[in-house]
Symmetry: C2
Subunit: 176 residues, 2 copies
């Protein structure tokens, strides 16, 4: 396997650090804890949040459910939903976020599942397609799809996905 993937966008890395810090501040002020469920970002959202000093007051736990078995076992994503819609789908993203809130003492959760590439893309689900879901406990989840430019490369798509997940959490933290 090659380590020579696309290099991270330094300015986006700065955005991620600033966004993580702002999100943690807001959550701490509102008494909200965060849990994460990640497939294609592979722990990148959790790593971004926990890179900020003091994050333990807000970040509670994270699930890196890379395999379908992990999604089913750790987050109770139904096997038939995985089989019918595929791991990269709105249905699975929403099931992941619901499972996260069921398994973690957190008020906010986000889930990410996508095709980071370079392999694994199809006509219907190309490299760069990423589904996100986020929810505040007791409220309906929100979900959104992004189609990142495949030319960003694997690392670039992952980094852009981390930023998007943080923005969704911020949107939920701001409201209510």
């Amino acid at each position: 396997m090659s380590a020579a993937g696309g290099s991270l966008d330094d300015s986006l890395d700065g955005d991620i650090a600033a966004l993580s810090a702002a999100l943690l501040d807001l959550c701490q002020a509102k008494g909200l804890r965060i849990a994460t469920a990640e497939s294609c970002t592979g722990g990148g959202v959790a790593a971004a949040l926990t890179d900020i000093a003091g994050s333990s007051a807000v970040f509670e736990r994270g699930f890196v459910t890379y395999s379908n078995e992990a999604k089913a076992e750790l987050l109770s994503v139904p096997q038939d939903v995985l089989a019918r819609h595929g791991a990269v789908s709105e249905e699975v993203a929403r099931a992941m976020v619901a499972g996260t809130l069921a398994r973690a003492p957190a008020e906010l959760a986000v889930a990410v599942t996508g095709v980071a590439g370079p392999g694994g893309g199809t006509a219907q689900k190309p490299v760069g397609l990423v589904w996100f879901a986020a929810a505040r406990r007791g409220a309906e989840p929100i979900s959104t799809e992004r189609r990142f430019n495949p030319e960003l490369g694997r690392s670039g798509i992952r980094t852009a996905s981390v930023a998007e997940a943080l923005k969704l959490l911020m949107e939920l933290a701001r409201t209510g």
Copy 2:
């Protein structure tokens, strides 16, 4: 909270990418899957491995057990071990890795728990103290302590810890 922590060491980042790729190659050749349990690195080991294309053949799942409650619930770390030895201890690192192998269909696991700082240090457990445990299924875990220079800063200690965790996994993947 401030995002102005120590910046990542670019050359260590390169080492981590190369080490991740080599580890994944070796594990794929030997039919070994990897699961991770992370406290102070907060998903950084999982993120490093999954940044490599093709990692889904080897990386199975990861647990980011930032709170003590997460360590107990997700990895069955006994509450009395947490209370007696503290989260940053050899005993907890070993319990985390045992719990990971019990909860994941993987042959190799690594656990990381430490004081990344800048707060949270004590005379006995200063900033920079990190405990690691790794195990191959069916064998006794190995564990090791590192005392990183606090001047590395939070990000630097976390990055150095990710590299150390990957080296431990490599050591176990090579043998047997």
